[in-house]
């Protein structure tokens, strides 16, 4: 029996079969967390909200030797407003995003996406960083973050680096993070004037579902309502969330009229590389990707002050 108790650091060890041990550690600093992850010899898992990790543990899909609970690390459970924008700590539950008036005002699409994950219960735990790191192509918050041009601050054994969020997932369940690396926060710039973002997903029920298709759109307009900047991202239609640059190019320089929407739908449907699975068919995903992109673009346009 090993019980080690220090201030806010709890270490538990239990003997599993084949001499394996599972440890749960709650470090106080990001350096300690990085050190633990870098120094681990087996499977290490980061625990923030746990809404993915615990499900995978329950199903026997993962048996970590080390669980690093990052919630006691200073600053990781906060949303900070900086002169440049927002820094959302890696351990901030999605429910908290919806309670931050400034964030909601600046990035309503991102907040809506975060508030669509799972249920109220799940939103009380899950984080957008976790959602990103699961690297599920269907993750709800990711297309919204990609459309918003969000960046991830990564701490690691060789220091910190900041990369666009779309560079984090590289395939289903796979990220570009190196051993010992951990996302500390997600950065969102201040929203540009006359801009708006929106996120929509398709699910068969009204709640409690994984996106069958999803679309995040962020638009900036000039004084006349002409689109000057655009980002369009699609979820659940390829191995990772897609940033559809062709769609953005097609929108820039024009108003979001009927013709622009039709073109947007066509480009988005064409950009999809979906699969048939238990949640939807290839044909369905293609068609609905276009539908959702136009609907999200319409909302984003309205939020940006366009008509």
């Amino acid at each position: 029996m090993v019980i080690v108790r220090r201030q806010f650091i709890t270490v538990g060890e239990t003997v599993m079969t084949k001499g394996e041990t599972m440890r749960y550690i709650r470090p106080l600093s990001i350096e300690d967390a990085v050190g633990l992850l870098a120094g681990s010899s087996g499977t290490a898992a980061i625990l923030a909200g746990g809404s993915d990790l615990l499900v995978r543990m329950k199903g026997g899909f993962v048996e970590p030797d080390l669980i690093v609970d990052i919630k006691a690390i200073e600053g990781l459970s906060e949303i900070r407003q900086t002169p440049d924008g927002f820094s959302i700590g890696a351990a901030v539950p999605c429910a908290v995003l919806g309670e931050n008036a400034a964030l909601k005002k600046a990035w309503p699409g991102v907040v809506e996406a975060a508030k669509l994950i799972g249920s109220k219960q799940v939103q009380g735990r899950c984080t957008i960083t976790g959602n990103l790191c699961n690297a599920s192509p269907a993750a709800d918050s990711v297309p919204a973050l990609v459309a918003a041009g969000a960046k991830a601050v990564i701490a690691g054994p060789s220091g910190k680096r900041t990369i666009p969020v779309e560079a984090v997932p590289i395939g289903p369940g796979k990220t570009s993070l190196a051993k010992g690396e951990i996302i500390e926060a997600i950065l969102l710039d201040n929203q540009a004037p006359r801009s708006g973002d929106a996120y929509l997903r398709f699910i068969p029920r009204t709640e409690m579902d994984i996106a069958v298709v999803s679309a995040g759109v962020n638009l900036t307009l000039d004084e006349h309502g002409v689109i000057t900047a655009a980002r369009v991202a699609l979820g659940a239609v390829a191995v990772t969330v897609l940033l559809v640059e062709e769609a953005a190019e097609a929108l820039i320089g024009r108003k979001l009229d009927e013709a622009a929407l039709e073109r947007l739908a066509k480009i988005c449907s064409g950009a999809c590389r979906p699969i048939d699975d238990k949640r939807g068919t290839i044909e369905f995903r293609r068609k609905v990707a276009g539908v959702l992109a136009t609907r999200a673009a319409t909302t984003a346009n309205a939020r940006a002050g366009g008509k």
Binding site: I3, T14, L54, K58, Q121
Partner: protein, 158 residues
């Protein structure tokens, strides 16, 4: 057996327990502390039967490790009534027959309590979306929604 020592507060009372690193808070409540009000319907956060309030935040206790409860406030269905006084939600669930088999009831009560704490005067739609994380297979939700509406009215008046 190794274990992690945890001190926590449950329904206002101090508890100390040992748990394994992979043991959920739901397992701790049910198997170690005998608080079987929270139910396991799925173990994956998809049914809400194990709902509890953790530091004013509604969560599924099957998605929380027992070790994470250290130093925190846990609220379960067992703590809803005060002495011989049922919580208005409990009373209204009874009066409206908002339960048939009753397995989902503790989770619904906790979720509804959290909902009304954050939104004392919800519309039907807000109730329906607010409780969408709790599955009920018996009632079709009709009487549950009515019970929550009625309880909200009583609590506003109180």
């Amino acid at each position: 057996m190794a274990g992690i020592a945890v001190s926590t507060t449950i329904n206002g009372d101090a508890f100390e327990y040992l748990c394994q690193p992979d043991e959920t808070l739901l397992d701790v409540l049910r198997d170690r502390l005998g608080l079987t009000g929270a139910k396991e319907g799925c173990g994956t956060g998809d049914c809400g039967a194990c709902s509890i309030i953790l530091d004013d935040r509604l969560v599924c206790s099957c998605l929380v490790l027992g070790a994470e409860a250290e130093g925190r406030q846990v609220e379960t269905v067992e703590g809803m009534a005060h002495g011989d006084q049922l919580h208005p939600l409990q009373q209204k669930f009874l009066e409206h027959a908002a339960l048939q088999c009753g397995i989902c009831t503790p989770g619904f009560l906790i979720a509804a309590k959290d909902l009304l704490a954050k939104n004392p005067d919800p519309t039907e739609e807000e109730i329906r979306f607010g409780l969408a994380g709790n599955l009920c297979r018996c009632t079709g939700y009709d009487k549950i929604v009515r019970a929550v509406q009625d309880a909200a009215n009583v609590m506003k008046g109180a």
